[in-house]
């Protein structure tokens, strides 16, 4: 065989190799994609839901993308990504950010309903090498966190719902433990631009400055609570404010806090409501988010511009079915049973039936 033929064969092989992925996607992959954007703290249950749902519907390929809850919605409303299902760790974000925002080039809002379908609780994730791991308990945790040799991680309240909820929990702790200095001792001196608390009509408002930057080594701040876990693993921090479902699924020790402050129970809705977190974004005019303390409730919606609304409805249907709820319970994400719609009239027909 001549040199030239050899080279031709080689070229052909290379071209064939380059074309292979195209052939692959063209022939064998005829599944319908179902893009689902979920809160970072819901990634674990979501993967289990995906596996079961794809077993039931082999022709559907659920594609999961995880972000902080606020960013989950922005993916659709600002970055104009097309998603079939959105799941956030704070149900109030859906009406706040989607009901009054219209889809580009139309006058339809991005969403006009959501379902409350699961709860969670806030506590402290730690490992067996964390300082004072053997001593910490429900009644002394805030004392341990303020010890000079203990480093604590918290999610960025401006980005992750886990962050502003951690502030709420620590503020609620003051009346729960009858100790008015807890919040101040935990966070009073931890940030370059301080976080302040104002009280009016019995409502305590925590003001988060537009620049949130920790001062010194004692407090670590990350954009997403899940990233705190790397710091926990490497011993950089000893405790991280985290959702119970995340800590349990990923195998961390988890200190449960009393229901009066862990934002888990609807029985305490009223007292949770005495605490608010306000973002003081002076220069950033578009939103001045304000969050009122309330039980942690995960919300799900189908955007009005979803590419596959019917399959999306089928997935939501599965999520709130007995089967879906069993998966949630197994992943330490207590389901709300039955799921509640905030605007039942706007629900897709497929879901209306199920809720009745």
């Amino acid at each position: 065989m001549s040199m030239v033929t050899n080279r031709r064969i080689l070229t052909a092989l290379i071209v064939a190799l380059l074309l292979m992925p195209l052939l692959n996607s063209g022939c064998s992959n005829t599944k319908t994609p179902l893009p689902v954007i979920v809160a970072g703290s819901f990634m674990g249950p979501m993967e289990d839901l995906e596996a079961r749902f794809e077993e039931l519907h082999p022709d559907i390929d659920v594609q999961i993308e995880g972000h902080g809850s606020i960013q989950v919605i922005r993916q659709v409303t600002e970055l104009e990504k097309e998603a079939d299902v959105l799941i956030v760790a704070d149900h109030s974000l859906i009406p706040m950010m989607m009901y009054n925002t219209t889809i580009a080039g139309s006058d339809e809002p991005y969403a006009d309903w959501y379902l409350s379908f699961a709860t969670n609780s806030l506590g402290l994730a730690y490992t067996n090498t964390s300082a004072y791991a053997g001593e910490i308990n429900e009644s002394n945790w805030y004392e341990i966190l303020t010890k000079p040799d203990v480093a604590v991680g918290i999610a960025d309240a401006r980005i992750d719902s886990c962050g502003y909820r951690a502030f709420m929990t620590c503020q609620l702790a003051e009346s729960c433990y009858d100790n008015a200095s807890i919040f101040e001792r935990l966070f009073g001196d931890s940030f370059t631009w301080p976080i302040t608390v104002s009280v009016e009509d019995g409502i305590q408002t925590i003001h988060v400055p537009e620049i949130l930057e920790p001062k010194g080594d004692k407090l670590a701040l990350r954009g997403n609570s899940v990233w705190l876990l790397f710091l926990l693993d490497s011993g950089e921090i000893d405790y991280a404010f985290e959702y119970r479902s995340v800590a349990e699924q990923l195998g961390y020790s988890f200190l449960e806090l009393p229901p009066e402050i862990d934002l888990s129970s609807e029985n305490y809705s009223e007292s949770y409501g005495s605490v608010r977190v306000k973002m003081d974004f002076q220069r950033f005019g578009s939103v001045q988010p304000e969050f009122t303390g309330e039980p942690i409730i995960y919300g799900v919606t189908i955007p009005n511009n979803a590419p596959h609304p019917n399959i999306a409805a089928e997935f939501v249907n599965f999520l709130i079915s007995a089967q879906g709820q069993a998966i949630l319970a197994e992943d330490d994400q207590p389901p709300i049973s039955p799921a509640r719609a905030d605007n039942p009239d706007a629900l897709p027909d497929e879901l209306k039936e199920l809720l009745q």
Binding site: R74, R158, E213, G223, W227, G235, E236, R283, F284
Partner: protein, 267 residues
């Protein structure tokens, strides 16, 4: 006239073809950059530049990348020279390993560094003794930048040294120059263009680093992390101008560097 033009074009058909092909790529690079820069009005850009947080973060990016590059030069150039002049069993493997940081997902690189330079680990403890910390500190930004970008400098410098004719070094030695003199007077100056190119690449790649730095040091925030934070906390409208300002500043620096290297080449 027409005939002449056709003949001219015919003679230049290789040049013209390549120009057309190249143009596609140029547009691919320029259009997104241009769109990004012009997405914000000049007044927004100016206000962004007046924002102290933005200026601080861009300055932090620039100078941490400079420190990283200085470390890269100090440790990378000797290694590059060694690799260019010696062969030993396993050399190919070493050279491949040097490239690994380029392909490792950068968040994973950050985690890997955390498990060496974290306060509970060997290197972290050793540096702790002299008061250097890596989590949420400038030193953390620097090591993350070195890790992900030093391969560019090593590879470029190595190539530069390989292109220096070894006979020149031998002549210098026979004329009585010491090995150190030979390196500093012959090899280093002859390889300087490649080393300089690698240095610029390393510095540039350091400025753009995000993932590895994010894991080690979210605060103080370098520019790429500030862009991310603004995007997450305040939305696209507030993240884009920061990105645009960063792009404009790096374009200015790059054009200036090219200009000066072009001038030194001509001399």
């Amino acid at each position: 006239m027409i005939k002449k033009t056709i003949k001219y074009l015919h003679q230049r058909r290789l040049t013209l073809t390549f120009l057309l092909i190249g143009l596609v790529l140029l547009l691919f690079i320029f259009i997104p950059l241009g769109k990004m820069i012009f997405s914000s009005s000049p007044s927004t850009l100016w206000n962004t530049l007046l924002d102290k947080e933005v200026r601080d973060s861009i300055w932090l990016s620039i100078y941490t990348a400079l420190i990283a590059t200085a470390f890269g030069l100090f440790f990378g150039v000797p290694l590059a020279y060694f690799l260019a002049r010696h062969s030993f069993p396993g050399k190919r493997l070493v050279e491949s390993l040097i490239d690994v940081p380029i392909v490792v997902p950068h968040i994973a690189a950050g985690i890997a560094l955390l498990f060496v330079f974290g306060k509970s680990y060997l290197a972290g403890k050793a540096f702790d003794a002299i008061g250097i910390h890596f989590r949420d500190a400038v030193a953390g930004i620097v090591i993350a930048m070195i890790f992900v970008s030093v391969p560019f400098l090593i590879n470029s410098a190595k190539q530069g040294f390989e292109e220096v004719d070894e006979r020149l070094e031998k002549v210098a030695r026979t004329l009585g120059a010491s090995p150190w003199q030979t390196f500093f007077k012959i090899s280093l100056p002859l390889a300087r263009r490649s080393i300089f190119g690698g240095t610029v690449m390393m510095w540039a790649r350091s400025i753009s680093e995000f993932g590895a730095v994010l894991v080690l040091t979210s605060h103080p925030s370098i520019a790429s992390i500030l862009v991310y934070e603004r995007l997450e906390a305040h939305g696209l409208e507030y993240a884009l101008p920061v990105a645009s300002v960063l792009i404009i500043i790096t374009i200015v620096i790059f054009v200036a560097l090219r200009y000066f290297t072009y001038r030194s080449k001509k001399q």
